[in-house]
C-alpha cells in the first residue's frame, strides 16, 4: 500500500512519526504501511502504530 492510497482511505488524516533529527519519517517518507482488518499499520524500526478507521 502506498502513502497515496493510504491517504485515499481516509482523506484529511495526518499520521506521521519522527525518529529524531537523523531519521525523520512520515507518510511521505519510507515508512512501512500495511492494511489491516480494521484499518492500517505504520511500522518503523522503533515503533508500530495500528490505527482503526473511523466511520465517515
Amino acid at each position: 500500500m502506498s502513502p497515496q492510497s493510504l491517504e485515499q482511505l481516509q482523506s484529511g488524516m495526518v499520521l506521521s512519526a519522527e525518529g529524531g533529527d537523523k531519521d525523520k519519517f512520515s507518510l511521505e517518507a519510507p515508512v512501512e504501511i500495511f492494511k489491516t482488518e480494521t484499518g492500517f499499520q505504520l511500522k518503523t524500526d522503533k515503533l508500530v502504530l495500528n490505527v482503526d478507521l473511523l466511520p465517515e
Binding site: M13, V14, L15, S16, A17, E18, G19, G20, K46, L47, V48, L49, N50, V51, D52, L54, P55
Partner: protein
C-alpha cells in the same frame, strides 16, 4: 531495567475511545482518550505560571474533544494527539502517558491518582519526591 521509557507498539482503538501501548519495559498499558484529554498538558488546558487553564473551568468534554482524529510521534519522547475538535497543542511525554495508564495493574498500584479524571496534585508531588518515572 530500561533507561528510557518508550512505546514499542501502539494500537489505536479510536472507535472505542482508548489505545493500548506496549512499553519497552514490558508493561502492557491502556490509555483512555477521556482521561488523556482531561490531562492535556498544554498551557491553554492546564494553565501555566500559577494561572488556571480551560480544564479548570469546565465540567464536561464534548464527544469531539475526546475523539482522536490522528496521532503524531514527536521525536523520541512524546505523542501529539490531534483531536476531532481541532485541538492539537498537547504534547504527551511518554512519562505523562504512563502516569495516565489505566490498565488493571496501574489502577491497583495507584488507586487514588485521579480526581474527576485529572491527576491529583498529591500524586504528582509524591512522584516528584520519589523521583519515580
Amino acid at each position: 531495567m530500561t533507561e528510557y521509557l518508550e512505546p514499542l507498539e501502539i494500537e489505536l482503538k479510536r472507535n472505542d475511545g482508548y489505545m493500548l501501548i506496549k512499553w519497552n519495559d514490558g508493561h502492557a498499558g491502556r490509555n483512555t482518550f477521556v482521561t488523556m484529554r482531561w490531562n492535556c498538558p498544554c498551557a491553554g488546558c492546564r494553565g501555566e505560571m500559577g494561572s488556571k487553564g480551560r480544564l479548570d473551568f469546565i465540567k464536561l468534554l464534548t464527544p469531539e474533544e475526546v475523539t482522536l482524529a490522528s496521532l503524531e510521534a514527536v521525536g523520541l519522547y512524546a505523542l501529539r494527539p490531534n483531536w476531532k475538535d481541532g485541538h492539537e497543542t498537547g504534547l504527551y511525554t511518554y512519562e505523562h502517558l504512563r502516569d495516565l495508564c489505566e490498565c488493571d495493574e496501574c489502577k491497583a498500584k495507584f488507586p487514588d491518582r485521579f480526581e474527576n479524571f485529572r491527576l491529583t496534585e498529591k500524586f504528582q508531588a509524591d512522584k516528584r519526591r520519589s523521583g519515580r518515572s
